[in-house]
């Protein structure tokens, strides 16, 4: 699948974890702690109880699982030792408007079953391996399920999916054995393929607040998007609202049976303009929360839309940045983006599947996997990932869950303490250093495993400064390095949201071929800050790759933190763009995540000017 529209694909949500809003009778699976009086304590609604997945339906899957574990064999081939099932029921409403008029509205409801088969043994199985030219082999298979309960249909789907997944697993296992035995890809290792996990049962259905209706979202989208029609220089714009819930039931042959429901609402504003020299410029604004009550109200959103249009207008006349090496201060959304894009992927301890390379390997990160106990970032930083909390700094966070994608209870993990790497985020796929999951299986990887991934990532800084003092520190550092100014970054691109680029297919393919895979996304809002404190907006700010090493040179942070929710794309954003997003594109797919971080000052980063998207002015002026 290409595209991150949860409403359009059977694959949607395959990579993401669950969000629990209510307690259930389970000791191992604690509920995330909601903040008293927080808006997202919106009442769970009885109407959100699943009508498709009922006890007899789950019993039917369990019965088929048992029958398959005991009886599913092919003579001469390795039998299954682990079977897992994920039943997912998704409901999505969304609405998109442009210039005050609706361009797209959707209501989606679908139910899937995914079977997951491991053959061999925990010590050596088929998983975490991508066979050359056979990346479809991952020991998984999916089937659509009806919207109404029908145990017979569902059992039949489980039967067919298990059979198909088993056959894939056998082929994958055989290929993995051959490749590793031959010494290719590092040879056989003593690290087990999969870790054991003590089963838990938690089947009581979790209800959530009901979705906002398409009608409500339409009205809001129309109203907010109308603000953007007032600015003549806005070329293209859209305002999208989304509201979805995803119910999931995870069963496996070890006896684990857990249920979880997540619920997210979001708003995004995207607008583009053309600079005087023809460069295409885009700005975005997005907020996600558990329900619409967590989103800003219309008045505030309208103000944000107005501000965005003003900034865009200013950006048109802003000079292109010059090449720069020196201190960079990331503020607010900019700080969230630098954490999300350049540090978070490296907190995973899951070994990359054998056979994953190129762009994917870069995207999945994991550069800290052999650094346990060592200082990996500046000693002033501490990083905690906590799926068990429902709020951070009084803001509802969407990266919370009761059980991860492998049905393992989410755990609060202190990953980096005072700059030293304490542990990593793990799924059930062990590494040389860490043999157990800590409940962070979220992002689906090629080769049929989940990657330990960040959820609610909390960045703490020692000796945080006031914002003005931090800017002074930037100026001082720039001066020390003999520079006339320092750079502040306040917003970076989220390609999953700005997917409607005006690049032609020709240009996108070229970009795919020549883009620097390791460079972070373009900085959309960046300023030069001069010694007198004066700020000058610049455009085309492209950071060169920010390696993990750069994090050792974070020299200061702010006292105040910014908390942002976002959907981490499960797909390669550039590939999504090459595929082209439709006009009604609303990114409601991806891993629900949040980052809470202070503003961060890096001693020295490299910036190059980007002239991407430069083109002739329209032959006819806008009407």
């Amino acid at each position: 699948m290409i595209g991150s529209d949860r409403g359009s694909s059977i694959r949607a949500g395959a990579a993401a974890a669950a969000l629990a809003l209510l307690a259930g009778p389970s000791s191992a699976l604690a509920k995330p702690k909601p903040a008293a009086g927080s808006p997202s304590a919106a009442k769970p609604d009885e109407s959100t109880r699943s009508k498709a997945i009922t006890e007899p339906v789950l019993d039917a899957v369990a019965a088929e699982m048992e029958r398959s574990l005991n009886g599913l064999r092919i003579e001469g081939a390795t039998p299954p030792y682990f079977l897992g099932y994920k039943l997912t029921e998704v409901e999505v409403n969304d609405a998109v408007a442009s210039m005050g008029g609706i361009t797209s509205q959707k209501e989606r409801h679908f139910v899937n079953l995914e079977a997951h088969v491991h053959v061999g043994s925990y010590q050596f199985d088929n998983s975490n391996f991508v066979a050359a030219g056979r990346d479809d082999l991952d020991g998984r298979s999916e089937q659509s399920l009806p919207l109404e309960p029908n145990p017979a249909s569902v059992r039949r789907a489980a039967w067919l999916a298990t059979d198909e997944a088993y056959k894939e697993a056998i082929e994958q296992f055989q290929a993995k054995q051959e490749v590793l035995k031959s010494g290719a890809a590092g040879g056989l290792s003593k690290v087990p393929s999969y870790s054991k996990y003590k089963p838990t049962a938690m089947n009581e259905q979790i209800l959530v607040p009901k979705l906002e209706t398409v009608e409500e979202m339409k009205q809001r989208a129309e109203k907010i998007s109308a603000v953007l029609r007032k600015t003549a220089s806005v070329r293209d714009s859209r305002v999208a609202f989304t509201s979805y819930l995803e119910r999931r039931w995870l069963l496996n042959s070890e006896g684990n049976a857990v249920h979880d429901t997540r619920r997210v609402s979001g708003v995004m504003i995207v607008a583009s303009a053309q600079a005087d020299d023809g460069q295409e410029l885009t700005l975005t604004y997005s907020r996600y929360g558990l329900t619409a009550a967590d989103l800003p109200e219309d008045k505030e959103l309208a103000a944000e839309a107005g501000k965005l249009a003003e900034q865009l207008d200013a950006l048109r006349k802003a000079p292109l940045v010059d090449s720069y090496t020196g201190p960079v201060l990331f503020e607010g959304d900019g700080a969230v983006a630098v954490v999300r894009n350049t540090l978070a992927p490296h907190l995973s301890g899951t070994p990359l599947p054998v056979g994953v390379g190129g762009r994917d390997a870069v995207r999945f990160g994991g550069q800290l996997s052999d650094r346990l106990g060592l200082r990996v970032v500046t000693p002033i930083l501490t990083l905690i990932d906590d799926p068990t909390t429902a709020t951070v700094d009084k803001t509802s966070v969407i990266g919370s869950y009761r059980a991860d994608d492998e049905g393992v209870a989410g755990q609060r993990v202190e990953v980096i303490k005072d700059g030293k790497l304490a542990t990593l985020l793990m799924s059930r796929t062990p590494s040389k250093q860490i043999d157990q999951s800590n409940g962070h299986a979220r992002l689906a990887m090629p080769g049929g495993v989940f990657r330990g991934s960040a959820t609610n990532l909390l960045v703490g800084v020692k000796g945080g400064l006031e914002q003005k003092a931090l800017v002074r520190r930037l100026i001082k550092e720039a001066h020390t390095q003999g520079l006339k100014y320092g750079i502040v970054v306040r917003l970076m691109d989220d390609p999953a949201i700005t997917a409607n680029s005006e690049l032609t297919r020709f240009e996108r393919l070229q970009l795919l071929q020549s883009a620097d895979d390791e460079a972070p996304p373009l900085a959309l809002l960046a300023f030069r800050v001069y010694p007198d404190g004066r700020e000058e907006l610049v455009r085309g700010v492209q950071l060169k790759p920010v390696g993990v090493r750069a994090w050792r040179d974070v020299i200061a942070g702010s006292r105040k933190r910014t908390v942002r929710n976002f959907l981490a794309s499960v797909d390669d954003p550039l590939l999504v763009q090459v595929g082209g997003a439709g006009p009604g594109f609303v990114p409601s797919g991806g891993v629900e995540s949040s980052v809470a971080t202070p503003d961060l000052l890096f001693r020295e980063l490299d910036i190059v000017p980007s002239a991407l998207g430069r083109r002739m002015a329209p032959a006819v002026p806008a009407p």
């Binding site: 599913l72 064999r73 442009s98 008029g101 009806p146 029908n150 009604g584």
Partner: protein
Amino acid sequence: MFSAASALSLAGCPKGGAQGGAAGARPLPPAVPARLEVDALAPMAGNDPSAKSKLIDIMASENARWFKVLKAAQPAPAHFIGYQVHERRSVTMDAVDGVLLADEDDTQRALDVEVRVGSEQIDSRHPLRDPRLAAFTSLARLGSVPFGEDEKAIRHHLWLETDRRYREGLLLLNMVLTERQVSVRDEEKKSADFTSSKPQLFFQKKATLEYDRGVWIKRVRDCSKRAARGVATRSNCRADFELNTIYYVNSEGSQIQTSWTNARFLVQVGVKHDDGMPLSRVEQAFAPTPAELPDDAKIDQLITVVNRDLDALHKAPLADPFVGPAILEGRAAAVFFHEVFGHRIEGHRQELEVEGQTFTKQIGNDIMPTWLSVYDDPTIRRLNGLPLNGYYRFDDEGVTAQRTSLVDNGILKGFLMGRNPIPGFEHSNGHGRKEPGNISVARQGNLVVETQRSVTKDELFQQLLAEIKRQKKPYGFIFTDIAGGFTNTTRVSFQGFKVNPTMTYRVYPDGRREVVRGVDISGTPLSALGSIISAARPVETFNGICGAESGWVPVSASAPSLLLSNLELDRSFNPTDRGPELPPPSIARAHGGVQ
């Protein structure tokens, strides 16, 4: 409006004996034309200028604003700008095994802007020779335009999309010109890249889609439960309704607003054979409105047919490759003509270098028996009382739908044309079609095969038996249904066709019939058409949706049953899947009667 509910004029005798293949020595079928009751509607019938939407005016004025500038633009002018807004509400209710699988109701408004850059003689849509470059020409994507009639918002989006398309057009034209500079020996293309057309003004009130959701959900649910019979392990019933409104303007001055509904009901059953072959049977009914779809009694007939056929297929032996006489019954003959003949008669295929150009040089030649004629007429609403799926008033390039004679008394007369002319056929005949987001090419609408000579179905069967004996074959074949197929029209590989019959009967000289499976009909078009030796009334119709490079478009094909002296059967692709290792689960056994 006129309603020509009369038999088509079939006056005149054949100009000679039947042509082609092994037909010469056999007696001709009697001069009894197969009945064709045609209910056609002139495209301009029902024109109601008062129904014109404000959207049309907004589109026309923005189009004119751009064209005024672009027609003189440098470095390259545009010679044509077309705007199409296609508003489509799609309703789907889908049930499987008695429960609902999908219940969707979506409305989209897609904007397609076409800016042709260059001149009519050579423009941005000139075919590129290098297939790698040609891949980049698919820059088309759905544009977006808000619902409603807000002038500022709509005009802005029209402007935005026109700017993008002009830019893309410049890019394409540069590719075309560069390719000509470096790689084309001399200009082989004899015609222009584009033909202009007379402006049309037509306005129709927006149609309404009326149905009772509750009733239809119950119908699909009940239907899928009733269809779960016999060997079927999956039974599926589905209702699809559409409300389409198209707003079209172009720089030639056309303004067209058409609106219509259509409806489809589908029954499908399937089972995986023990040998791994997936078996399925589909029956579908099309109608202009949900109310005109089959009632429950007729749906039961469809269910009976698919179940009966699936049970028979499940018991059927695999057939061996074969060459010999065969009957294509009406619907199978219709699909056969659509695939084998129709796709090769699409105008743009006559000049693209990679195309096989099977019929390009055949104009004026006999290509099938003289008692057969073929035409495509999108203006036919009903044929012999049955609604036709390929009905439309104007094509997607703003050209009036026209009846186009393709074969007249066995002689090739013409091609289906969009706005891409070819030598000898310099104008569109209203067959430029596309799905939103694609570039129009010539496509079929309602393909009709008419015969001036025919026998009854029983007589045709007897003729088959006679032919089997005459050729000393152990058996012949009858095909009652063809699911579709593919036809390779390009010359880079074997230019054959392969169609997939769903119901195949082996017929023995003593008249015994036996269902078999696992064969495809294959061959080359000219020899297949040349081997038609007889036809039987009545004409039957296949309604469906056809996919090609310009997307999916609704079509129909109608034909009498045909006897061919030589049809070639290949073994079909038979997946070597083992089939599931475990037998199907039984809920009752495993779960104490939970059902």
